[in-house]
Structure formats: structure tokens, C-alpha cells
Amino acid sequence: MKTPPPLSPELEAALAPHRTVLRLSPAVEARAMARAAAATESLESYAVVRAPHRPQWVFAMAAGLVLALGAAAYAARGWVGLSSSPPPAHVAPSAAPRAATPRPPAAVPAMPEPDAPATIAPAATPHAKRSAGRTTATGIPTNEELHLLRAARQDVTRGDFARALAVIGEHARRFRNGSLVEEREALRVKALAGLGRRDDAQRAAAQFRARFPHSVFLSTFDRMKETER
């Protein structure tokens, strides 16, 4: 097979000293691994709700996780997920410039913040593109997706939480990894709390916190908790 010509002496001299991978500091590595582990838990429990094509062992594992979460929530009998102590997913402040985001307005904004994290579409390979279905790999929501989320938000604003949950479910089904996942899941927490389903709201909030540790919606959840007290 054809190979590119060798590097010029000038480039070789510039690049050669940098071919070794520098060691990462243990603290940074531990922090990154803790975040990754938390995201793993979150994503797996999240997949329980809608993944009909998954093999049965995935269901069994996820169901076990949900039961464990339920038992933990019952034992704690408090706002476990919304308490002031964050899950291990939360990184130290030095690593999280977004942690200092300003508090959002009282109402849930219609669009996620432009720098909202963890909304990368799974288009990591050419094959992934094929399997991504209706996800929006470009990160730009389609009109249909926007329309659905807007409807859900209006339902929440009106206080029609049951209807909002139905719309949220529809959005989750049609735009599983859409561009507005963060917004959708924030609305889910609000709708569940509005229906008085405290345990479900706490669980959803805990999952949200693990998945979007720097989200601007987290402070909204904290205010909801304070209001309830």
C-alpha cells in the first residue's frame, strides 16, 4: 500500500520529542473515572424505560438497578437525589468551569444553554450514523422536536403535568438522543414533582444530575426543593 512521504527534517525535529503520552495526575484520573462511572449508572438506568430491542439480560440488570435505587430512596425517605451532597459524578470545581454558570430564570427556558454538556450524538463511527435513527447528529433540533418540547413546556407551565409527561414520553420515544434531551429530562423532573410523585421526581433528578452535572437546570431543582419545604 502506498505510504505518505517521510516528514521533512524540520517537522521531524519539532514533533519527535512529543510522541510519548504524558502521564495524567492521579487526582485528575480518579475524578474522570468517577464521572465516567456515574454516567454509566445513569445511562443504564435510563435505558430501562425505552429499549425494547435490548436483550433480556439488560432488562434484568436495569430492573435490578431500579429496584436498588427505589430501596435506597425508601430507606433515605428524603430528597436523596436533590440533597445538597452531590453524587460522585460531580467533579471538583477546578475541573468544571461550567459549574459557575449563573442561575437561570424561574421558568424553565425553552432551549438548553448553548454550552450544555453531554448532548453529543452517538455518531462516533460511520456505522453509528446508521443506527442513530432519528437523532440529530448535528446538535440542531428539528422543527418537530422543538414543537414537541415546546408543547411539553407549555403543559408544565399550565400545570397539566399528566399531559406533559405523555408528551415527554412521546419525545423520548421519537428523539431518544435528540438535541433537547437535557431540556426534556428537566421537564420530566418538574412534571413528576408537579404530579406529587416525589420518589419518581427524586430518581429522575438524581439521574439528571449524574448525566448533566453542570446543567443550569440543577439550580432550578434546588429551588423546587426549597419551595417544597
Partner: protein, 184 residues
């Protein structure tokens, strides 16, 4: 501050559950950070981007062919994550955004090595991301061109042409930086 850090301390390693993606990530986490830095991620954003790489890796894991080396694949994922981030804040991106933080003190060799690395990084910043990715993979990571093309989902010919152009751009950038340094 100290107690704050303690409260947020990560769990011990034995508490991190066994999971193939997590294990692969743990094994290559240093490389992920390394790749992100070469792709132009700033020190203050590299941890967040690494987390996004992990999430993207989880989602694409079923499509990963485990008979192939993991690093080029990871590099491809990191490239997509950085590309997406760049698109999000296209207008904010300044080529000279990389800071040279040498901390002042330290033996001369360490300082020189840091400065040399910073110079190469500054020069790489002037190579557009799509071409920079090919150059870093091929000329720094020493990944064969065919694997570079596969990891970045581009035709082999495109990989060659991007590499050729990126080398020219990097040479030009290094020369310009050298001139800037020596200018009175």
C-alpha cells in the same frame, strides 16, 4: 476549601463497577486526555470533553471492532467531540487561544521541553481541525494512513491530501512562530 474537596472526592477504585467500556476507558484515559490536548482542547475544558468522549464511546461501543486497536478509534471519537464543541462556539475560537503555562520555576530542560511542546501546540492550532487530526494521528501517534482514514470516516485519498496540506501548514506555522519569537 479542603473540606469542600473532601466532600467531592471520587469513590475508591474498588467501588467503580466492572464494565467493558469503563475498563477500556480507564485503560486509555491518559491517551484520551493526550489526544484532546493535541486536538486543541484547552486545559480548563479537557476534563469535560473527556467525559463527553466517554459518553460517545459508550453509545458507539457496539460498533467498535475489538480486533482493531482502540487508540485510533478513541482518537476518532475525540475528534468528533472536539469538532462538535468547535461548531458550538465557532465565533469564539481564536487561533492563539492556547496559553503557555510554564509556571516559572523548574530545571531548564523541563522548561525547554514545555516551551517546545507549547510551540508545537500553538503551531498546530493554526492548522484547521480536520487536517490537524490527520496529522496528529499519522505523524505524532504514528497510526497507519488506512487506520487514520477509518477512524475519521474519510476516504484514504482524502487522508493523504489532508496530511500533505497539514504538513505544509504546520511547517509554515512553525516558521512564523520562530520569526515572531526572534523579532525584536
Amino acid at each position: 476549601m479542603g473540606s469542600h474537596l473532601l466532600l467531592r472526592a471520587p469513590p475508591p477504585a474498588h467501588m467503580i463497577r466492572k464494565d467493558p467500556v469503563l475498563e477500556a476507558y480507564q485503560q486509555e484515559i491518559t491517551y484520551v486526555f493526550h489526544a484532546l490536548r493535541w486536538l486543541g482542547a484547552r486545559p480548563d475544558e479537557v476534563e469535560d470533553l473527556a467525559q463527553e468522549v466517554f459518553i460517545a464511546l459508550r453509545r458507539s461501543w457496539p460498533h467498535y471492532d475489538s480486533s482493531r486497536p482502540l487508540r485510533p478509534y478513541l482518537f476518532g471519537v475525540a475528534f468528533r467531540v472536539v469538532s462538535m464543541q468547535r461548531r458550538k462556539r465557532k465565533r469564539e475560537l481564536a487561533f492563539a487561544s492556547l496559553e503557555i503555562r510554564d509556571g516559572g520555576a523548574g530545571p531548564d530542560e523541563v522548561l525547554q521541553a514545555k516551551q517546545a511542546r507549547a510551540t508545537v501546540m500553538r503551531a498546530l492550532e493554526r492548522v484547521p481541525l480536520r487536517r490537524r487530526a490527520v496529522l496528529v494521528m499519522h505523524d505524532l501517534e504514528e497510526v497507519p494512513t488506512a487506520d487514520v482514514a477509518a477512524a475519521l470516516s474519510i476516504p484514504l485519498f482524502t487522508a493523504y491530501s489532508r496530511l500533505r496540506k497539514a504538513r505544509k501548514e504546520l511547517e509554515a506555522a512553525l516558521r512564523r512562530i520562530a520569526q515572531e519569537v526572534h523579532r525584536p
